[in-house]
């Protein structure tokens, strides 16, 4: 995972509930659900951008953890 992976549309698709991945990392599951709820009532481009960055940052910071690594592989394969 590199910083350029932020440009992958999968992050936006995840937070907008357009793509589904069976996540393993507990922090990722909770954050993704919270972001999806937030975007139910506000889908402005800036809100989507902020949400996708937040999810990406969580995985980027935790990319050394086994369960986060599993999720990153699944997410980037989508």
């Amino acid at each position: 995972m590199s910083e350029s992976d932020l440009n992958n549309p999968v992050w936006s698709n995840l937070v907008l509930s357009k793509t589904h991945v069976n996540l393993n990392f507990l922090g990722g599951k909770i954050l993704l659900s919270r972001l999806q709820i937030t975007l139910k009532s506000n889908t402005t481009p800036s809100a989507v951008e902020k949400a996708k960055k937040e999810l990406f940052d969580l995985y980027f910071k935790n990319k050394h953890l086994p369960n986060a690594q599993k999720d990153i592989l699944l997410i980037l394969k989508k």
């Binding site: 069976n22 996540l23 507990l26 922090g27 990722g28 599951k29 909770i30 954050l31 993704l32 659900s33 919270r34 709820i37 937030t38 139910k40 009532s41 940052d57 969580l58 910071k61 935790n62 050394h64 953890l65 369960n67």
Partner: protein, 329 residues
């Protein structure tokens, strides 16, 4: 099986040996402890090496392993609790104890998902409490580094820094799953609700609970990307036509009531990971599981810890066991 329950003299000795401790016990016992590297919370209910137990004479001790590089104990009030994730070590985890029914508890429960760096670092912990049938009407307490530091307002946190070859991972054991019933949503977030949308149709929630004769020992369950999050019923106020919960419901989340559980111990032990529980550094379980499943004297596998007024795995949970394990990369 590891001993976790200690007499006060034994705990005082451990503190004097400069051990780093997470403590749970009766308020009056914790008040007698000397200065040292410890945080604690009031609670008289425990899951011990010999099974579920109520005690005002023993203290439950979780010792932080000696390989830990550094700890930082910090107190948070309602204004500063928002920094709890940000303040954690980059490689480590944090253990939090919040006094039950304090403003900090209520604020954390509702606002944690909006705190800076939410969920980026492992945060585990519990809500402190008191003996439910205590005639003296005590409040829940927390302690940080001294018996004199007692507070019924502030959260206490031990931020723990791990060596680079180790990492911490939070897991939960939740025997509840969403049942087959109605989809329940709420127009506002909070601990107390008046109305709900039942399959999209607005109805007073007390009327709904009464009409459907819901067993309120079973929580409402939300599916957070595959993680089941429980919201436990606290009280049905028929006069005010309100329902109170032990954790807030959130606007925008779909809930279903949990399916009934036949045998808590059997279902629980089936969910304990195959690898066992040797790496668990800290664990806690919910007072409602203890009461409703009559866990006094019964063992939940080999897992020990305080029985609490709420569990925290990144955010506040109900009727869930939370664990943190330290593993090698």
């Amino acid at each position: 099986m590891k001993k976790v329950m200690y007499k006060i003299d034994e705990v005082i000795n451990m503190i004097r040996q400069d051990k780093k401790l997470l403590l749970a016990g009766d308020e009056e016992l914790l008040k007698k402890l000397p200065d040292g590297n410890w945080i604690g919370g009031s609670i008289p209910y425990f899951m011990t090496e010999s099974g579920g137990m109520v005690s005002k004479d023993l203290i439950l001790v979780n010792e932080i392993p000696s390989f830990v590089k550094e700890i930082k104990c910090k107190s948070y009030d309602i204004a500063t609790i928002k920094n709890v994730y940000k303040d954690g070590f980059e490689n480590g985890f944090s253990v939090i104890i919040i006094p039950g029914f304090s403003e900090t508890h209520l604020s954390f429960a509702i606002n944690a998902p909006d705190y800076k760096e939410f969920a980026t670092k492992p945060l585990i912990g519990w809500i402190s409490g008191f003996l439910l049938d205590d005639p003296n009407g005590k409040t829940a307490k927390t302690f940080i580094g001294s018996g004199k530091s007692v507070s019924d307002k502030n959260a206490v946190v031990m931020h723990i820094c791990l060596p680079s070859e180790k990492y911490a991972e939070i897991s939960t054991i939740n025997i509840f799953d969403q049942g087959e019933g109605d989809i329940i949503e709420f127009p506002e977030s909070g601990f107390q609700v008046k109305d709900a949308f039942i399959n999209g149709k607005k109805e007073n929630f007390v009327d709904y609970v009464t009409r459907k004769q819901l067993d309120i020992r079973l929580p409402l369950v939300a599916d957070y990307s595959g993680m089941m999050i429980n919201i436990s019923f606290q009280n049905i106020n028929k006069e005010a036509k309100t329902v109170e919960f032990y954790a807030p419901v959130f606007k925008g989340i779909s809930y279903k009531q949990a399916s009934p559980v036949k045998d808590y111990i059997k279902q629980f032990t089936q969910l304990i990971p195959d690898g066992g529980t040797n790496d668990i550094t800290f664990s806690c379980n919910c007072i409602l599981n203890y009461l409703y499943s009559e866990l006094e004297g019964k063992k939940t596998g080999t897992i020990t810890g305080p029985i609490t007024f709420g569990e925290i795995a990144y955010q506040l949970l109900n009727q869930t066991m939370v664990n943190i394990e330290i593993k090698d990369f």
